[in-house]
Amino acid sequence: MRRGWPFYAQLGLTVLLCLFIVVPIVMSALAGVTVNVFKGLSSGLTLRWIFEVWDLYAQSILLSLWLAVACLVVTTLAGVPLAYVLVRRPNRLTRMFEEILTLPVAIPGLALALALLITYGGFGSFRSSWVFILIGHVLFTMPFMVRSVAAVMSAMDMKTLEEGAASLGAGFWHRFLHVIMPNAMPGILAGALMVVTLSIGEFNLTWMLHTPLTKTLPVGLADSYASMRLEIGSAYTLIFFVLIMPLLIAMQMLANPGKKRRAALQPAEDE
């Protein structure tokens, strides 16, 4: 394949864009382990800031992990059956519901948080518990779980599968647990990764919903950016990256499992 200047021009732009994304990530990661950012790397490397972050923000990090798990449980239990109904019974009612379901993602998190605060802000103990934040996260992440599962379900000709199982005498719940769920697993897995990643990183809603006792990781991050020295903010960001990178990588691997797809411009040799 001969590659002319357009190839290299486009490659150049791609690399530039990549640098734009990656350089700040690397800089912040380095700053998090540098003794003094203002003096630069020559001041030496240290884990001091990481420990300091842990002392200051351990609670918020743990709360975020806990929220992500809880959010995953709720969205799976409620979302997988929802996806099943949306795929199996597509009609005006279910489509309308799907529309409503995805609205919390479409409208700004701030507006959603405001609505929740106005409605339930008066219930003191509820307002100040982690469940209040969980609700926001569930509303925001549920569409991702439902969409992801529904996509897999509609691709797998569930009608035939179910009819096959029914012809063998399986009742509905048996079919649901032993035929539908296992076959929808790739979608559930992809949805789960998305839900956990989004929940750990959610800020717009959480900033409004949190109380001093229910700070999550991103809330703590905003707090550290505003009031701590640069190294601590960086170290905290580094912890966030370490938490979230495996999830993102897993998601990318799940998205394209077969890397066998042949080069698009190489001739698809004789179908």
Partner: protein, 394 residues
Amino acid sequence: MNATAMAQPGSQTVQTEKTGGTRIELARCTKTFPDGTRALLPFDLTINGGETLVLLGPSGCGKTTILRLIAGLEFPDAGGKITFGEDDVTRQSIEKRRVGMVFQSYALFPNMTVAENVAYGLKVQKVERRERDERVRAMLEMMHIDMLADRRIDQLSGGQRQRVALARAIALRPRVLLLDEPLTALDAKLRVKLRTEINSLLRKLGITAIYVTHDQEEAMALGDRIVVMQKGAIAQIGTPREIYRAPLSPFVADFVGASNRLDGRIEQNSLVLGDVKISLDQIGHAMTGDPIKNGDSNSNSRSGQGLADIYFRADGLAICAPDQGQIRGRVEAISYLGEKSRLTVSGIGESVITLDVDPDFQIAIGDDIHCRFNPERLTVFGRYPDARNAAQAM
């Protein structure tokens, strides 16, 4: 290996010589992909002006790669040369080559109407508006789709799309028309109908055409000559009749539909199959010479001894009265096909054999039958250990 040299003498018969179209020559072409895959082994190929050449072969044999070399979508490795008439186009890109292409997926522009699709090439070439409209109208009329001119592409059936694709490709009066499995996406009945249409269109235009397919029947129906390809090399070039009746290798025989195969021996100028002995002179097509060891007179003569592969179609073996039978078999399955019944018979060779009988012939599964070979319809390949290895190394 020089592929053209492999074709039997006289294979380029007079009927293929037409005038008007551009003569195309590929000389010493090879193609290696960036990842190192050798897609095409060195070959020469000449397509006469006005000829329809069919590239036939299984998936991955390199036939599409040859088409793309001629199109200018791929370039041959250094040393290869492609000429259109007197014009060396080896390094010319497709935009400049004046080729017409028809794709398997049709590749019609979904954002344009039928007429706009057909007009696109003329527009790019800045053909003046009035002439453009006139030519588009003529094209659409010729393809019998003038009533679809203002339709959108997604409102067309598969057959209509194929007609639009053809009209678009020939509107520019290209030097060569390249068709890449254009009928594969259609159902069987439509395929036959369009095949006939394409055939008469190509004759009418007298244009040089190269047609890629994996369908043996399509190749026979359309090609002035057929190039059978195998693993990046040309296995045989010849007219449909030559390919069908006189395949040069077991691969070609098998690929063009001689699906029955038996093991036999060659002894003293005869084919021996168990108790059956048939003189080689009676055999329709016998390739008993070792094509590699030409210098060795012993192995190159018909009297040479050795193993033989026998290929034949359903008409190579017929049921007969028990006293006239050469071999016996047992009916395993019967498929009623309307104008004939096809039997699956065991007990003759290692695997089952298919043969055809009159549909009214009274027979049942499990019956023993007696058969006679039709020597005219047999293809025999002498098998020599050396020839085999050499053939594999090709």
